[in-house]
Symmetry: C2
Subunit: 255 residues, 2 copies
């Protein structure tokens, strides 16, 4: 029984947790799941790198971006048990305990009344599998620390310098955590771990389009090209150890 | 008893629904609420325009952007009843039934276990009122229709032409509904009502920074300046009546 069912185009719709990966962490309603590939079924050891381009791994990322629910089945003592729907909230690249690169995902339990899939409409015939009305939620933690960082930078993005004008003469920006909050990264919700970014650069930073070095140089991850240096503010003391953590455990500088 | 308690800087933390505004709509867990100002208490009629710059109205918008919970009290038959916490999910400008411009808000009930306010931490002393760890959620409906629009444009923003690169050689964009979904606008989830936008222009379009005319010209709402024409694709047939609706009932072309 394969761990992940799905492909890059259609998205993944189900996973099986069978204890096949040493690096999986199961907290019940939160699952840290390891992608497919490079695993020796006999020893359960990682013997090669995993890639986000592996069809099943890419399928889970498609589901993350499109908000497709994932059916989770757990294998325990040889028996399979269906445990309901989860959403993929994050993915990242880490080095597993066997020393190879692995793709990891954070899955969170959806409420029991969450629709399995959206209804197909006449004007928009559903693809197989059909998910006509999924909703993606982007959670932005707007803590006192995030608001302080946005104030210091007056909503100017630390990567591009742009600030987003909305109505009533307001500016809009987002507080982006360098080391992600929550399991397994447990980054702190403090000004030293928060950047003021525009929504475009926030998405790119969170989803592995760009990364920032300990020298504050912003890199395009697909080309490795430097895009400039992070804008700073004297009051905003960033802990560069968080950038080091990201390059080791979230997104390495180059794919 | 004042309807909205709060200011632009601190955000609003509570409202009272007392039937003071003819344009309020109360669906229980969803409330369409009218802003402050321009209302004659004697006749309950609107006698002047409302503005997003009115301190109380600006306070509710601050709470919308920062994710602050709003305590809702309903007045019924002379008695006040506390009805729990709501979040402000949208605001817009409409013409009320008395012919004056009004500011409106959509509020949605939060779960009963939602924290009243975030805990203050030692390193980040709380302001009054203190909301140390609020979370803003941006919901993006990624329906089959939205995915079709994003495919046609290959994730290039219809306003700026940019597409956002994330890892694994993927492009990211968002499906933005022209006429908003849900009450009270009930825009359709169809390709004719969806634009392919980058996150920056999606936020600006949803929060009143820009508006689009029926001639497809994109306007900066604060200056009234034209920013160019919307990029189109031959297969993507936009219903321009939705732009007309937005200019009449969501964001007028000029503030």
């Amino acid at each position: 029984m394969q761990g992940i069912h799905g492909t890059k185009v259609d998205g993944a719709d189900s996973i099986v947790i069978s204890g096949g990966y040493l690096d999986d962490e199961d907290y019940g309603d939160v699952i840290i799941y390891t992608g497919a590939g490079g695993n020796d079924p006999a020893t359960k050891k990682q013997i090669a790198h995993q890639s986000v381009d592996h069809p099943n791994n890419a399928g889970l990322i498609t589901s993350e971006l499109a908000g497709y629910p994932i059916r989770v089945t757990r294998k325990e003592k040889g028996a399979f048990r269906y445990d309901g729907l989860f959403s993929v909230t994050e993915h990242w690249i880490d080095v597993g305990r066997d020393g190879f690169q692995i793709v990891r995902y954070r899955l969170e339990k959806l409420p029991d009344d969450h629709p399995e899939e959206g209804p197909a409409t006449k004007s928009e015939p559903a693809r197989e599998p059909s998910y006509a009305s999924t909703t993606v939620t982007r959670r932005i933690r707007d803590s006192a620390a995030a608001r302080k960082v946005k104030d210091w930078h007056n909503h100017a993005c630390q990567i591009c310098g742009e600030s987003i004008g909305i109505d009533g003469d307001r500016l809009y920006s987002e507080g982006a955590h360098i080391r992600p909050l929550g399991r397994p990264h447990v980054g702190p919700d403090e000004t030293s771990n928060i950047l003021c970014l525009c929504p475009n650069h926030h998405v790119q930073f969170d989803k592995g389009g760009i990364t920032v070095g300990t020298d504050l140089v912003v890199l395009d991850r697909s080309t490795g090209k430097a895009l400039g240096r992070l804008r700073t503010h004297p009051a905003h003391r960033i802990d560069i150890a968080h950038f080091d953590y990201v390059q080791r455990h979230v997104y390495p500088a180059q794919v």
